[in-house]
C-alpha cells in the first residue's frame, strides 16, 4: 500500500535536490554585477514605481480581454480530460481537433487584425 507512494517520494527528493543544487551553484559561481535596474523588485512588464496618475494603456486591456477568452475556453477540454475511458476514441480526438482549430481561427483573426501588437 505505502509502496505505491514511493515514486512520489523519489520525485519530490529529486526535485528538491536538483532545484537546490542549481540555486546553490548559481549563488557560488555566478558573476555579480548589480546595477540600479537589476536590484529593483521584479514586476512583469510594468515600471515598479507607479505614480498616482498612472493609467493602463488600451493595449493592456485588449490583451487582458483576449487572455480571459482563450483562458476560459480551455474549460471545454476539461470534461474530456476526465473521461479516461475515452482515451482510445477517434470520435473524441476529431471533436477536440475541431475545437482547437476553431480556437486557432480566432487566434489567427485576432493576430491579423493587429490586436496582439503592443502599442
Amino acid at each position: 500500500m505505502l509502496q505505491s507512494y514511493l515514486p512520489i517520494l523519489v520525485f519530490a527528493t529529486l526535485g528538491i535536490l536538483v532545484g537546490g543544487a542549481f540555486v546553490l551553484l548559481n549563488g557560488i559561481i555566478g558573476p555579480r554585477k548589480p546595477n540600479k535596474v537589476k536590484i529593483e523588485p521584479y514586476e512583469c512588464g510594468l515600471p515598479s514605481q507607479v505614480q498616482r496618475t498612472f493609467r493602463f494603456g488600451v493595449s493592456f486591456y485588449m490583451l487582458a480581454m483576449l487572455f480571459i477568452l482563450f483562458d476560459i475556453e480551455v474549460v471545454f477540454l476539461y470534461p474530456v480530460g476526465v473521461l479516461v475511458s475515452a482515451a482510445g476514441s477517434i470520435f473524441l480526438l476529431v471533436e477536440i481537433i475541431i475545437f482547437v482549430v476553431l480556437l486557432m481561427t480566432a487566434l489567427v483573426f485576432v493576430w491579423a487584425r493587429g490586436a496582439l501588437d503592443w502599442k
Binding site: 485588449m62 480581454m65 480571459i68 475556453e73 471545454f76
Partner: protein
C-alpha cells in the same frame, strides 16, 4: 450538509448582484454585478447537481462559465471603446438615446 443552505447562499448572491445592477452607476461595476448573478445561478446548479447525483448540472455550470466570460469580454470591449470616445462612464449619463 443540507442543499438548501447552498440555495439560500446562491439566492443571496443573486439578490446582491441584482441590487448592484440597479444601484451602481459605473458600467464596470454593473458588469461585475451581472457576473455575480450568473455565478449565483452556477452555485445553484452545482448544489442541485450534487443533491440529485446527476452530472448534467456540472456540465451546464462549465458552459455558463464560458458564456459569462464572453459576456464580460464583450462588455469590457464596449466600455473601452466608449472610454476612447471620451464618453461619460456613468450609466445615468447615457442619454443620447431618448424620445
Amino acid at each position: 450538509m443540507d442543499t438548501s443552505w447552498y440555495l439560500v447562499l446562491s439566492a443571496l448572491l443573486f439578490a446582491v448582484g441584482f441590487s448592484g445592477v440597479l444601484l451602481r452607476r459605473s458600467p464596470l461595476v454593473i458588469l461585475l454585478c451581472v457576473e455575480l448573478m450568473l455565478n449565483a445561478g452556477n452555485l445553484a446548479l452545482l448544489a442541485m447537481s450534487r443533491s440529485l447525483g446527476d452530472q448534467d448540472g456540472q456540465v451546464f455550470a462549465l458552459i455558463v462559465m464560458v458564456i459569462a466570460a464572453c459576456e464580460v469580454v464583450v462588455g469590457l470591449g464596449l466600455i473601452v471603446a466608449a472610454y476612447r470616445r471620451r464618453m461619460p462612464l456613468n450609466v445615468d449619463d447615457f442619454r443620447s438615446l431618448r424620445g
